[in-house]
Amino acid sequence: MTFALIIISALILGCAAVAMALRNLIHSALLLIGSWAGVAAFYLWAGAEFVAFAQILIYIGAISMVVLFAVLLTRQGDAPEPVEFPSLSRFVTGLIAGGGVAGVLIGAILGMPFDVRTAQSAPALSVKELGAQLMGPHAVSLLVIGLLLTVALLGAVLLASDRRPDQPEDTP
């Protein structure tokens, strides 16, 4: 079991790290999709089937499409990002910051004795129970999330549409 977890972790971290280092945005996006798929595999490993499928459906089915669409629409598919000196210094700064945070977190995790549950099998939570949870104690949150999604969708449409009042659309 732990072995599978290590393989999944390697997949997630490898894909994510390479994606953040690549110059070609399409390759980055596709590798990140691999990383998201790895996260879904982790959820499956942990026994959270519903979340795993939701992760695939939302991340690979929807967000990745939006990302790729944005890359193509902004004509970044073939143009690698230019290397400039400021961006190099930013890179070093980012690396130092990220490394520092990582060091602190890893130190904390390794030094903290966790009270781990002994049972190895994943807790079974059926879709029905999950639904009861969502509609019961978390109903308000569900409504808020629904509202958030609606507002976000409307906002995205408004932001992305370039129809200005003084310039009529000339496409049919």
Binding site: I26, L30, I33, E49, F50, F53, A54, I56, L57, I60, G61, A62, S64, M65, V66, L68, F69, L72, G77, S126, V127, K128, T171, P172
Partner: protein
């Protein structure tokens, strides 16, 4: 009694054979053999179905078009032997696809160009894992099977995008853009069109959904969801979205041959092309299977007395019927334009699926109405879906109608 005995044997025969083989294997490998047999069986059955679906498509299209379709390929070692109505055509096609040269453009992104067909076939095959093929034949009895199906299916468009982008061909790139726009538009109505089923059946498990459709009124009127107003509307909406999701005519925009040559397939040849072809038909079969499961009663027989026919035969029969319907549509309809396609999705399909969801909610709330109230229930439910359909449809086709023409005076 005799019929019942035959029924029970045929019904479980595939499982019995699998168990026999598994028993014969040594203990530590049994779980592996158990799963391998399932996988191989799915591959064999649907591989065969895939081999003959294009043949059926070509034959049927031929019949639709006053011609015969392929009827020449006989047995290779029997020169003047029977032609077998062209039934050996799939094997000839397979040999041809395998022996053709695989051309990769020099400018292409070689890795992605190679990965795209592999991914698309893999993901389209994954969807078969949760379909209930028969009363006892469910490869993976997932609790969230419906969600799994859409999750696995959603990745195929990603592969189409990869193919289009990696080819470094302008037509392919346009096709990739179209594929993305299409999937962003149609994923939503596809999922929304099946939500009423979840609402009524109260489960995401496909087997439970089939079981929920498992009774007959008077022994011959099946309780399939398609025979309710919201179910029928949902089935039609699902059908249209499924056509769009699997890039079939009239939504075959990514590979529109009269505009984009072959779209994302322009730079593919040989076996990689065959893989795309395979994935298209696998995806089509899987969506047919889902449609059958959700709306057409799955493996249930249409009449009570027809139950002696094994359930998996009913399932396959219905799937093949759906495939023939898809082929018929392909032989009949014209292709939409990309802006019309997205407009249809957002201005027609999405509102209708949402209204249909409300319709299903009404149906579920009025489950207790009987007698004359039953008629009221049907009427209201029909009105809920038909009136928006007519209004939205009229808005969508506003200003377009067949014209009458004048003639010159002299």
């Amino acid at each position: 009694m005799i019929i019942a005995a035959i029924d029970s044997y045929l019904e479980v025969a595939p499982l019995a054979w699998r168990d026999a083989v598994v028993q014969w294997c040594p203990e530590p490998t049994q779980w592996l053999v158990h799963h391998l047999i399932t996988i191989v069986a799915i591959l064999a059955v649907f591989g065969t179905l895939f081999a003959f679906t294009p043949l059926a498509e070509r034959k049927l299209l031929g019949r639709l078009q006053n011609r015969l379709g392929p009827n020449r390929s006989g047995l290779p070692w029997w020169q003047n032997g029977p032609k077998l109505w062209g039934l050996t055509q799939p094997f000839a096609d397979a040999v041809k696809a395998l022996t053709k040269e695989d051309i990769v453009p020099a400018a292409a992104d070689k890795l992605l160009h190679f990965l795209a067909p592999v991914l698309i076939v893999a993901f389209s095959l994954l969807t078969f894992a949760v379909l209930p093929f028969g009363r006892h034949l469910v490869p993976v009895g997932l609790d969230a099977a419906l969600l799994y199906f859409f999750a696995a299916g959603s990745a195929t468009e990603l592969a189409i995008f990869m193919a289009g982008w990696a080819s470094r061909n302008k037509y392919s790139l346009l096709a990739a853009m179209r594929a993305l726009a299409q999937v962003i538009s149609y994923e939503l109505p596809l999922i929304l069109s099946v939500v009423p089923i979840v609402l009524i059946a109260g489960t995401l498990s496909l087997q439970d959904i089939v079981l929920a459709q498992g009774f007959w009124t008077f022994g011959f009127l099946p309780h399939w969801f398609v025979f309710t107003p919201w179910g029928f509307a949902g089935f039609l909406l699902f059908l249209v979205s499924a056509l769009a999701e699997s890039n079939r005519s009239p939504f075959d925009l990514p590979e529109a041959e009269s505009e984009l040559i072959a779209g994302h397939l322009t730079e593919y040849s040989g076996f990689k092309y065959a893989l795309f072809f395979m994935a298209e038909y696998f995806g089509l079969t899987a969506l047919s299977g889902l449609g059958v499961t959700l709306f057409l009663g799955g493996w249930q027989a249409p009449c009570a007395f027809l139950q002696f026919i094994p359930s998996w035969l009913w399932f396959m029969g219905k799937v093949i019927g759906m495939l023939l319907l898809f082929i018929w549509i392909r032989g009949t309809l014209l292709r939409l334009r990309i802006d019309q396609l997205t407009r249809l999705a957002w201005q027609f399909m999405v509102p209708l699926t949402l209204i249909n969801l409300g319709n299903a909610a009404f149906w579920s709330l009025t489950a207790g109405w009987t007698g004359p109230l039953q008629l009221v229930r049907w009427g209201v439910s029909l009105a809920i879906i038909v009136i928006p359909f007519v209004l939205l449809g009229r808005r969508l086709s506003a200003g377009r109608h067949p014209r009458t023409y004048r003639y010159a005076a002299s």
